[in-house]
């Protein structure tokens, strides 16, 4: 029982990080209808900048630089490439971001080589005790940051002019533009936010207990895909919940590896995808996604 609670809580904290990255995914999708496969390499870019910069400028400024770099890269992807073929179908746009991901990830992993870069977080490998459960300090912080950011997003979406513009554009871009809402600006903002969220996600995904920034960190963002699909692509709340579910599922299956050994080794990595497939069988548009009317 105690082990279960420990794993569950650990899963929630990991899930919080996924939620952040997934939230970025959904924000971009809602605002511009793009499945952004480049999210992974943007995440890597953020983490890479932080890891390279922290020794010379200090951790706090390094984080700011990393977030900025990721946000700028993200906006550029939209403004330079996506915007040119804005009305192409989802698949085409998704594959375009895949191409960008390959370019960015190749260059970054070339720079990193076989090194493992230290992210330089001041909390290092500290462990905190929360209600009798020992959790890595970085994960607790991640949970806190995620909670603050998700709440901030929710408030901003709900109450600010920007939030209203964003939601209007997401619901009906054409009418939003008839109301004077500048869609390109909304798009740029959404991409910037997604980049920033990816960088923050990258920071925590490469902090302890993870070893550091390696060339393959971008692949970690793949774990958020089941989260996004689970939640339903156009639902920010769904993305957050999906992230938490995926975190818990992967930590639990990894933790109970021995008991689940009949399902094979390394279950933690694949369980989220299995859960995603099962959910899609029952609900083809995820848990909270918008469904279509026709039946054929």
């Amino acid at each position: 029982m105690n082990q279960f609670v420990t794993l569950f809580v650990g899963g929630l904290f990991l899930g919080a990080i996924y939620s952040l990255v997934a939230l970025g995914f959904v924000t971009v999708f809602k605002a511009t209808h793009v499945i952004n496969f480049a999210q992974g390499s943007v995440l890597l870019l953020g983490a890479y900048v932080i890891a390279r910069a922290h020794e010379s400028v200090g951790f706090a400024l390094a984080v700011a630089l990393g977030v900025l770099a990721a946000a700028v890269a993200s906006v550029l992807i939209d403004a330079v490439l996506i915007r040119r073929i804005r009305r192409a179908d989802l698949g085409t746009l998704a594959i375009l971001t895949l191409g960008v991901d390959i370019l960015l990830a190749t260059e970054l992993s070339r720079r990193i080589g076989t090194d493992v870069l230290n992210i330089g977080a001041p909390w290092g490998s500290d462990v905190t005790e929360v209600a009798g459960i020992r959790v890595a300090t970085s994960r607790v912080l991640a949970g806190g940051v995620a909670a603050v950011l998700v709440a901030g997003f929710w408030l901003a979406f709900k109450f600010t002019d920007f939030g209203i513009a964003m939601r209007s554009a997401a619901e009906d871009g054409e009418v939003a533009s008839l109301m004077g809402i500048r869609l390109n600006r909304v798009a740029a903002t959404a991409w910037a936010l997604a980049g920033a969220l990816a960088a923050i996600g990258g920071l925590f995904l490469t902090s302890f207990p993870a070893a550091g920034v390696t060339g393959s960190v971008g692949l970690l963002a793949l774990a958020t895909i089941p989260a996004v699909v689970l939640g339903g692509f156009d639902s920010p709340g769904g993305a957050v919940l999906g992230g938490l579910i995926i975190g818990v599922v992967s930590v639990l299956t990894a933790g109970y590896q021995e008991e689940l050994s009949f399902l094979g080794r390394g279950l933690g990595g694949v369980a989220p995808f299995a859960v995603m497939l099962l959910v899609l069988l029952v609900r083809p548009s995820g848990l909270f996604g918008t469904r279509e009317v026709t039946r054929v």
């Binding site: 499945i35 490439l81 040119r84 073929i85 192409a88 989802l90 698949g91 085409t92 998704a94 594959i95 375009l96 895949l98 191409g99 960008v100 991901d101 390959i102 370019l103 190749t106 260059e107 070339r110 080589g113 793949l222 895909i225 089941p226 996004v228 699909v229 692509f233 399902l263 094979g264 080794r265 390394g266 279950l267 990595g269 694949v270 995808f273 299995a274 995603m276 497939l277 899609l280 069988l281 083809p284 548009s285 995820g286 996604g289 279509e292 026709t294 054929v296």
Partner: protein, 334 residues
């Protein structure tokens, strides 16, 4: 008449390749042929039927492992056929999801299949040998062994496994292209294209949309399975790592670069994506641009990845119909 003459020249030239070219080129060519076959299948699924799939590597793996496992037990030719059917069954089993889930959800759901497959191939050690992989039994046809054991020499060139496989590859590629061309222009091909453009219109024209989506997945998976068998034979030993997400993405890129829906385009895309890194790597010593691996500069592997990423972006931004579109400049379609 001149068309037939041209085709005959091409056939003769391709058939003569093992006599003139060294093993590296044969190996590269075989990988490209395996990719061509599998890519045709994905092109039919994505381009004609309009279903985005990132699971292609999984079905390729089913074909590869299916052959490796069965060829020890039944004649290799039967094993080849059985492996292709097995991949088809796997595709059909996935079709409840493929039939229900649309568009991008399908693409991402199929991504799950690749990861699930990796997990299974790593763990089903009895069949796959786990991460250490499994040896692929050589092909043989009615007692003719595709090995070097018989000491066959043609025009002074010893014919070993690669040389013999080359011909098997050519035949399989030719059959695949032919079937693909026929299919696209036929009743099922039209039905799939209609499903792609409007499911409602397809259904009101009497096409069972769910069934045809499943059929598209099945046929495409069978192509993948055949490509997998050839790939396994070319590798000689297969490990799960070869059939991961990266391979799936490779296939999608082949289809996009070639021009989705074009059988010939998929073949061209497959050659580009498969052969480019191998050739760059082969000549990395003599190309001044490229650095030695590990020296910090842009190495052959990275250079080909960059080229490949850039090709995707360039094709999507500037030539949406891919290589096929560049060859057949068609009238602009609304």
């Amino acid at each position: 008449m001149s068309r037939w003459l041209g085709a005959a020249v091409v056939v003769v030239l391709l058939a003569a390749v093992p006599i003139w070219f060294e093993a590296f080129w044969l190996q590269t060519g075989l990988f490209a042929m395996a990719a061509i076959i599998a890519a045709i299948g994905l092109s039919i699924l994505v381009g004609i039927a309009g279903q985005l799939s990132l699971a292609h590597a999984f079905f390729v793996a089913i074909g590869a492992y299916g052959y490796a496992y069965l060829a020890d037990r039944i004649p290799p030719l039967l094993a080849l056929v059985a492996a292709v059917l097995l991949a088809g069954v796997a595709g059909a089993l996935f079709s409840p999801i493929a039939g229900r889930v649309r568009g991008i959800y399908l693409g991402l759901a199929s991504l799950g299949l690749v990861f699930l497959g990796q997990h299974i191939f790593q763990n089903a050690t009895g069949i796959t040998g786990g991460y250490r992989g499994v040896a692929v039994p050589p092909f043989s046809l009615f007692g003719f062994e595709f090995t070097g054991a018989d000491g066959l020499v043609v025009l002074g060139v010893p014919y070993g496994p690669l040389e013999k496989l080359w011909y098997l590859g050519l035949v399989l590629v030719a059959l695949s292209l032919w079937y693909g061309h026929n299919l696209v222009r036929s009743r099922p091909g039209r039905a799939l294209a209609t499903v792609r453009d409007s499911e409602v219109a397809a259904a009101t024209n009497g096409i069972d949309v769910v069934r045809y989506k499943a059929a598209a997945f099945t046929v495409s998976s069978m192509y993948a399975g055949l490509g997998g068998v050839l790939m396994a034979l070319a590798f000689g030993r297969i490990v799960p790592e070869s059939f991961g997400l990266l391979l799936s993405i490779d296939f999608l890129v082949m289809v996009v670069i070639g021009g989705a829906g074009s059988v010939g385009g998929a073949a061209a895309g497959a050659v580009f994506v498969t052969a480019l890194p191998l050739i760059l790597n082969h000549y990395s010593g003599s190309l001044p641009l490229l650095a030695e691996p590990g020296s910090g500069g842009v190495g052959a592997a990275e250079f080909s990845r960059l080229l490949y990423g850039a090709a995707i972006v360039a094709v999507l931004l500037f030539a949406r119909d891919g290589l096929a579109g560049l060859v057949h400049r068609k009238e602009r379609v609304v």
